[in-house]
C-alpha cells in the first residue's frame, strides 16, 4: 500500500490517528555523510530524557563512504523505544525515515523492516532528472510493494531548500523534526540536545538546525495522518546514556588504569578515541603502538613497573597478542586485555557483532596458560567490569581477558549513574623495601598466590623470565620445578573460582523443561525472548554467565534441574540434521563446548553468525523449536 503525502490543507484541521504502543523501533537510513546517525542519537537522547526506555544502534557500512544510493552502502541508525527499560535492539523496525529509496532497499533486503512498517521516504528521486535514477526508484517501489509497508513520500529536499542551500547537510534535522512531532517529543529538550551536539561548531549551525527542526515538525503536523504514543517511566534514579565502548573507557578511568596501549582496530578503537579525549586530564596515557604485539608489550612493561595497564583490540589483534599473553601468565604479570569481538575468522566482518573469540581467549596460548576470562552483559557492566578486571589481574598476578562485542560497543542505552568510589582506584606502585629473604615468587603452597615485586623496591632485585623458573625466578634446570610452578599458576585460579557465586537463574530456579544459557551482549535479547515464551506458558528459564574461565560453581547442579540445556550464542555451530553432520562431528557453540567439557551435560546450542545482534523474536522462535519433546 502506498499513499502520497496528503496536501497540507487537507489535514490541517482534522486530528491524526494516534497509535499507542509500548515498544517500537525507528530507523533513519541514508547515504553515509548525511547525518542520519546524529539525528537518531539526538532523538534517542531526548526520548531517554522524557522517560522512555531506549536502545540505539548505528548501521555502519563496510566502507568509509561507499557509492551513494547503494543498497550495500546504507548508513543509519535504529532507535528502539519502550515504556520499560530496553535491553537490546529488538526485532524489526516499525517506522523508517529514508533519505533515498536504495538505502531503504538495503534494509528491506536484510529483513530489517516489519511487514507492516511505515516508511517516510524522500520523494525527490521519483522525479529526478536522471532517467536511471527514476528507473531505480520505480524498480525499488515495485520490489517494496511486495510487502505491506505503508510508504509515504516526503519532499525533504524541497522543504530543506527553503532554509539551507545544501540539504545533504540539513535533512537529518528535518527528519528529527518529523520524529519529534510523530512521537510528541518536547521540542525544547530537542533544541537543547541539538545545541549540545553541535557545541563545538559555530552558533549559526545550531540556529539553522533549530530552524530545520521546526520545519520538519510543522511539515509533519500538516501532512502526516498518524502519531505514536509510548508511555514513559517515572523519573527514577539519575541515569547516564552512552555506548559500551564509552563505558569501557570511563570504566578504565574508574579502575585507576593509567595506560591504554593499543593499535587501532574496529570495533575497539572508539574506546581509545574517547580516552584520547579525556584520559590525559586524569594523568592517563593512550599509547598507539606500531602494532598489537607492541601494544601488549608496552602494557606488560607498564604493569611490571607497577602501573597496571590494559590493551584493547579485536579478533585479529587478539591473535597477535597471543604470545605476550602467554608471557604475562608465565611471569605472573597483571594484564587486562579487552577484546571487542567482531565477525571472524580473519578479517571477517569488521563492523559486525560475533561472539566467537571465547575459545581463543581461553585456550589460544600455546602451553598451559591458566588465566581469567570474563564478559560484561550490559553497557553498565562494561563500566564496572574494568575495575573487577584490574583487581583480579593484580590479585592473581595474571591476565584477565574481557570479552565485549560490536553490539555492546555501538549500542547506546541509559543506565543508572554509578556511585563512584575512590576505592576502585589502583594503589600507586609499592616502593617499600622487600623483607630480606622473600622470593619474587614466594608462592603460598596452598593458594599459589605470591607478592609481586616492583622495580624501585630495594631488596626486590630479580630477573623476571618467561622461561620455566623457580620461586626465586631462577631458570629451572630441575624437572620437578616446572611441575610445581605450573601447579601454582593453576592453583590460584582455582582459588579464585572458589570466591565465585553460582549464577542466578532467570525464571524458575527450581528447574523446568528448558534452560537457555548465554554469555555477553545477548543477555537482554535472551531474557526478553524467555519472557515472551514464558508468557506463552512454556517452562523455560535462562542463565547468563559473566565469568567464563574459570566457570562459576554450581552449573551442573543447576543444569540437572532442567530437562534440556541449550546455549544461545552469536557464533558458528553446525545445524543438526545437516548433511554429514552427526552428534559426533558437530561443531557446537563455543560456550556449549566449555559447558559440555566441564559438566558432561549434553548441552545443545542455537547459534547464528548473521553479522547482527540476535533478535528476541528469533530466539523465542528457536526456543519453541527446541523445546524437549519437539516444537511446542
Amino acid at each position: 500500500m502506498k499513499l502520497p503525502a496528503v496536501g497540507a490543507t487537507a489535514l490541517a484541521d482534522r486530528e491524526p490517528s494516534v497509535r499507542s504502543v509500548t515498544d517500537l523501533s525507528v530507523e533513519i537510513v541514508s547515504d553515509s555523510g548525511e547525518g542520519a546517525q546524529k539525528c537518531g542519537q539526538i532523538f534517542g537522547a531526548v526520548s531517554a530524557k522524557m522517560g522512555n526506555g531506549v536502545w540505539t544502534v548505528e548501521i555502519i557500512p563496510a566502507e568509509v563512504e561507499p557509492p551513494p544510493r547503494n543498497p550495500a552502502g546504507a548508513s543509519g541508525i535504529r532507535i528502539r523505544l519502550g515504556d520499560q527499560e530496553v535491553t537490546n535492539w529488538g526485532d524489526e523496525t516499525n517506522l523508517v525515515v529514508a533519505f533515498n529509496e536504495q538505502a531503504l532497499l538495503g534494509r528491506h533486503g536484510l529483513n530489517a523492516l516489519a511487514p507492516d512498517a511505515t516508511v517516510l521516504v524522500e520523494s525527490m528521486w521519483a522525479t529526478h532528472p536522471d532517467p536511471d535514477i527514476q528507473k531505480q526508484w520505480a524498480d525499488a517501489m515495485e520490489e517494496l510493494s511486495g510487502r505491506d509497508y505503508t510508504i509515504i513520500e516526503v519532499p525533504m529536499e524541497e522543504q530543506c531548500l527553503t532554509v539551507v542551500d545544501n540539504p545533504r547537510k540539513g535533512k537529518n534535522m528535518f527528519a528529527l523534526g518529523m520524529l519529534c512531532w510523530i512521537f510528541d517529543r518536547d521540542v525544547e529538550r530537542a533544541k537543547e540536545q541539538i545545541a549540545h551536539a553541535f557545541r563545538s561548531k559555530a552558533a549559526v549551525i545550531t540556529e539553522r538546525n533549530h530552524q530545520l527542526l521546526d520545519l520538519g515538525y510543522e511539515w509533519a503536523e500538516e501532512n502526516l495522518g498518524f502519531r505514536y504514543e509510548i508511555p514513559t517511566m517515572e523519573e527514577g534514579a539519575p541515569k547516564v546514556v552512552m555506548n559500551g565502548n564509552e563505558a569501557i573507557a570511563l570504566g578504565a578511568v574508574a579502575a585507576g588504569l593509567e595506560l591504554a596501549a593499543m593499535y587501532p582496530i574496529t570495533p575497539a578503537t572508539s574506546v581509545s578515541h574517547m580516552l584520547g579525549e579525556v584520559f590525559e586530564k586524569y594523568g592517563g596515557v593512550v599509547h598507539q603502538a606500531e602494532d598489537e604485539i607492541a601494544a601488549a608489550g608496552v602494557a606488560i612493561g607498564s604493569s611490571y613497573a607497577g602501573r597496571c595497564a590494559f590493551t584493547i583490540t579485536s579478533g585479529p589483534g587478539l591473535a597477535l597478542k597471543t604470545e605476550f599473553i602467554g608471557l604475562a601468565v608465565m611471569a605472573e604479570i597483571p594484564l587486562v586485555v579487552v577484546d571487542v569481538q567482531r565477525g571472524g575468522p580473519s578479517t571477517g566482518l569488521p563492523t559486525k557483532v560475533e561472539q566467537s573469540d571465547l575459545l581463543a581467549a581461553t585456550f589460544g596460548q600455546p602451553g598451559d596458560a591458566p588465566h581469567v576470562v570474563m564478559a560484561p552483559a550490559t553497557i553498565e557492566e562494561c563500566f564496572h567490569i574494568m575495575t573487577t578486571a584490574r583487581r583480579v589481574a593484580e590479585a592473581l598476578r595474571t591476565v584477565v581477558v574481557v570479552l565485549t562485542d560490536a553490539n555492546l560497543a555501538t549500542g547506546v542505552a541509559p543506565f543508572p549513574r554509578p556511585e563512584l568510589s575512590a576505592e576502585w582506584q589502583a594503589a600507586p606502585p609499592d616502593q617499600r623495601p622487600i623483607p630480606g629473604g622473600l622470593a619474587p615468587y614466594a608462592w603460598d603452597d596452598r593458594t599459589g598466590l605470591s607478592r609481586r615485586f616492583i622495580p624501585g623496591q630495594p631488596g626486590g632485585e630479580h630477573t623476571l623470565t618467561g622461561l620455566a623458573h623457580d620461586e626465586r625466578s631462577k631458570v629451572a634446570y630441575d624437572s620437578a620445578i616446572n611441575e610445581w610452578s605450573s601447579t601454582m599458576r593453576s592453583r590460584k585460579v582455582a582459588v579464585f573460582q572458589h570466591t565465585l557465586l553460582p549464577p542466578e537463574v532467570n525464571g524458575d530456579p527450581d528447574g523446568g523443561d528448558l534452560l537457555v544459557v548465554g554469555w555477553g551482549s545477548t543477555k537482554g535479547a535472551i531474557e526478553e525472548a524467555v519472557g515472551r515464551v514464558r508468557a506463552e506458558g512454556l517452562s523455560v528459564s535462562s542463565l547468563h554467565l559473566t565469568m567464563l574461565s574459570p566457570l562459576p560453581p554450581g552449573l551442573k547442579d543447576i543444569f540437572s534441574r532442567f530437562e534440556k540445556v541449550m546455549t544461545v550464542e552469536i557464533n558458528y555451530s553446525d545445524k543438526k540434521g545437516d548433511p554429514f553432520i552427526t552428534d559426533e562431528n558437530r561443531r557446537r557453540g563455543q560456550l556449549a563446548w566449555l559447558l559440555r567439557a566441564s559438566t558432561l551435560v549434553d548441552v545443545d546450542c542455537w547459534t547464528r553468525v548473521l553479522g547482527e545482534p540476535l533478535r528476541p523474536g528469533r530466539i523465542a522462535h528457536a526456543i519453541r523449536e527446541n523445546m524437549p519433546g519437539g516444537a511446542a
Binding site: 603502538a289 606500531e290 604485539i293 608496552v298 606488560i300 563512584l420 622495580p455 630495594p458 626486590g460
Partner: protein
C-alpha cells in the same frame, strides 16, 4: 640517561661496589664476547653509582638476552624480539627508572625489526645495546640479517644468500634517531666509553656492539681483533673520547656526530668503524612529551563525575 642525577636528589648514603651489581656466574661459553659487555656494564654502574633497585635491564631471547640474569638489579628477560616494547612500557610509566635493553642481532634486527625502527622514532630515554655476533647463537648457528653474505650456517649451509643488513645505516635512516654508536667488545676502553656516553645521552641511545661468538663463529671478527689497522676510530671532542687508544688503533677519522650525512656515509661497511656516528639531544623524549601530572584518587573521581555529566540523561 640522566635519572641518576634525579636519584642523587633524595640523598642516599649507600656507596656501591662492582660486586653490588654482580649476579650469579654467567653461563655463556668461555671466551664469549658477552662476558666483556657484562663487565663493562657493571663498571659503568659502579662509576655512575646507579641504584640496583631503580635500574632495569630488559632483554629478549638469545644468548645475549640472558644478560639480566647476571646483573644484581631488576631484570626482565622477555620474549624474542620484543624487548623494546616492554622497555618502552617500563619507562613510559616509570620515568624515574634507568632502563637498559640488551638484544641480539636476530632479536633486534630480524624478528624485532618493527619495534627497533619505531623505538628509534619514539626516542624514549634508554640505552639499547645490540650485541651483534652476526649469528643466532642460542639456537645454534642460523643465519641472521647481519651474517656476511656467503657465510655458512645451519640453515644456509651453502652460505648466506643476502648481503648483511647494516644496522647503523638503517638506524640512521629513521626519523628522530638521537644517538647512534658502534663499539667492539674486545676493545674494553672504547666499549666502556661508549656505554658511558650512551647512558649519559638523554634519549634513545642505540649502540651496536661487535661481539665475538667463539663457539660458532670464531673467525667472524678475527681480522679486526688481530689487525687493529683494519679498524677506524671515529674521533671528535663531541664524540667518544678514549685516551691512548690511538697507540693501538692508528686509523683515526675525525667525524662530527652532528653531521647526519657524514654519519651515513661512514656507516657503510667498507670499513669497521668504532665511535659515535650521530647524536642529537634536541629531540624530545617520548616519555617526557607524554608525562602528565599525577592525580589523586579523589581528584580523579571528581573529574570522572564531570565527564559523567556529559552523559547524564
Amino acid at each position: 640517561m640522566s635519572c641518576s642525577i634525579f636519584h642523587a636528589a633524595h640523598e642516599d648514603q649507600r656507596v656501591f661496589e662492582m660486586s653490588d651489581y654482580q649476579g650469579p656466574v654467567a653461563r655463556w661459553c668461555s671466551g664469549c664476547g658477552d662476558h666483556s659487555v657484562l663487565a663493562a656494564t657493571q663498571r659503568l654502574m659502579t662509576d655512575e653509582q646507579l641504584k640496583p633497585e631503580t635500574t632495569v635491564f630488559v632483554s629478549g631471547i638469545g644468548c645475549s638476552s640472558r644478560f639480566p640474569h647476571y646483573m644484581k638489579t631488576y631484570g626482565f628477560h622477555g620474549i624474542h624480539g620484543r624487548a623494546l616494547p616492554i622497555a618502552t612500557g617500563v619507562k613510559l610509566s616509570r620515568p624515574d627508572l634507568d632502563v637498559f635493553v640488551v638484544m641480539g642481532d636476530g632479536d633486534c634486527v630480524s624478528i624485532g625489526a618493527a619495534h627497533w625502527i619505531h623505538s628509534i622514532r619514539y626516542n624514549v630515554d634508554m640505552v639499547a645495546l645490540l650485541l651483534d655476533n652476526n649469528i643466532y647463537g642460542l639456537t645454534k648457528m642460523q643465519t641472521s640479517p647481519t651474517t656476511p653474505q656467503g657465510y655458512k650456517s645451519n640453515t644456509q649451509p651453502y652460505g648466506s644468500y643476502l648481503p648483511a643488513l647494516n644496522p647503523l645505516e638503517a638506524t640512521l635512516g629513521v626519523t628522530n634517531a638521537s644517538f647512534v654508536a658502534q663499539t667492539a667488545e674486545w676493545v674494553p676502553a672504547h666499549l666502556f666509553a661508549t656505554l658511558q656516553a650512551a647512558y649519559r645521552h638523554r634519549g634513545f641511545a642505540f649502540v651496536r656492539i661487535l661481539q665475538r661468538c667463539p663457539h660458532f663463529t670464531p673467525d667472524m671478527y678475527d681480522e679486526a681483533v688481530k689487525q687493529p689497522d683494519v679498524v677506524e676510530i671515529l674521533t671528535h671532542p663531541e664524540g667518544i673520547v678514549v685516551d691512548g687508544l690511538d697507540k693501538i688503533y692508528k686509523n683515526q677519522v675525525r667525524h662530527d656526530p652532528a653531521n647526519i650525512h657524514a654519519a651515513r656515509e661512514l656507516a657503510q661497511e667498507d670499513a669497521i668503524r668504532l665511535g659515535l656516528f650521530y647524536r642529537d639531544e634536541t629531540n624530545p623524549r617520548y616519555e617526557e612529551t607524554r608525562s602528565l601530572p599525577r592525580r589523586t584518587a579523589r581528584e580523579k573521581m571528581d573529574l570522572l563525575n564531570e565527564d559523567f555529566d556529559h552523559y547524564a540523561v
